[in-house]
Amino acid sequence: MAAIEPRELIVRRVAQELKSGQVVNVGIGLPTFVVNHLAHDVNIILHSENGFVGMGDPPEPGREDPDLVNAGGQPSSIKPGGAFFDSATSFAIVRGGHVDVTILGGLQVDQDGNLANWAVPGRIIGMGGAMDLVVGAKRVIVAMEHRTKDGRSKVVRKCTLPLTATAEVDLLVTELCVIEFTPEGAVLREIAPDVTIGEVLAATEARLYIPDEVGVMTVV
């Protein structure tokens, strides 16, 4: 298999986790691109926490509606069958378990499934809806690069940055591996096609359980 850009590997692999009919909330940044890589027969319903379900593609230039934006404030659209609501209902949907999957970016994920993704020291500017999403969604998938720009592991023993939620992450997908968080700990499920388990472990500060069979991340 030809080399694939790391961020593209992540979003393509995450896309495989989604099933038709699921209500999905995707965070700003990397997760946004997951929906571009769904299989042709997978139809999901996107929840936008500023107040609607059935979010569609961004409108073509010139067709923007100032009253219809996504949670990042960017022009958006709504598909037939969608619905608008107020912010209390939007987060009743989130907190009440009516979102099947949330896909979020991360700054750190630790071996206990704790997530830090909203603040760095000296820059605490707000958690937005992330804390509600991570606590409320039935399944929490973190899509992030494995290491910081200066090479430190973001998959850590214990998060040092301010937490978003405790023990809520179900799956972590990086450009190196797929980690599942279970009651027994963080389990290495898959590794990228061009790396070894040893290389993943070397890049990972967290303690990982290595099952007898570790798959290979396959994207088409």
């Binding site: 100032p66 009253d67 404030g73 907190r95 804390m131």
Partner: protein, 216 residues
């Protein structure tokens, strides 16, 4: 009780030190004209309860650059460097609250609830200073209600009885804030006579609204 007012009439009770709720999400669904009037009146030392700080030149975000805000309760400041700088310089007291908890706190303020229990924020800095309760094996934070002196709303259609209809994602916090302030003003781009809105389509009943201002 016709509620149509001029912009000047609608905000004549606004004074220094008041707590304002202002509708909008990153300035979408934000009452730009009412905010213009808050700026024109130059009131100071405001406490702002908003979803976010919008942008320095849009929506309620403009009130920071104009130096009118001393206290802020919101969930996100990321698009307003002016507000962030004021926070970092200690000129702006900030309480950050998770978005869903913020929505419920405003709703609780309007609904006469003493608070709500949420799992959101447990184990994070959002729990600082809050009562924690254990119920049936789950841990919850007690989030307290929020109320304001004045709520400023943006509607799409209003009738002269104060009934409001919002449009698309511009609804957001507006209907919640409509219930949670002592005095509620809405600007709307279309004003209809009483009876001009189907009672099944009303999103904010007129009984919550004190004044309506028509805007172009």
């Amino acid at each position: 009780m016709p509620k149509l007012r001029t912009l000047d009439q609608a905000l004549e009770g606004l004074t220094d030190g008041m707590t304002l709720m202002i509708g909008g999400f990153l300035a979408v669904g934000s009452p730009e004209t009412l905010v213009d009037e808050v700026i024109r009146r130059g009131v100071r030392d405001l406490t702002l309860i908003v979803n976010d700080t919008a942008m320095p030149d849009r929506g309620y975000g403009r009130l920071f650059a104009n130096g009118q805000v001393s206290t802020l309760i919101c969930c996100y400041m990321g698009m307003n460097p002016t507000a962030i700088a004021q926070k970092d310089e200690g000129k702006l007291a900030v309480e950050l609250c998770p978005q869903g908890s913020l929505a419920e706190r405003i709703r609780a303020g309007g609904a006469g609830l003493g608070g709500i229990l949420t799992p959101t924020g447990v184990g994070t800095i959002a729990e600082e200073g809050k009562i924690k309760l254990e119920l049936e094996g789950h841990t919850y934070l007690l989030e307290l209600p929020l109320r304001a002196d004045i709520a400023l709303l943006r509607a799409h259609v209003a009738d002269r009885a104060g009934n409001l209809v919002y449009r698309k994602s511009a609804r957001n916090f507006n209907p919640l804030m409509a219930m949670a302030a002592d005095y509620v003003v809405a600007e709307a781009s279309e004003i209809r006579d009483i009876g001009g809105i189907d009672p099944d389509h009303v999103m904010t009943p007129g009984i919550f609204v004190d004044a309506v201002v028509g805007v172009s």
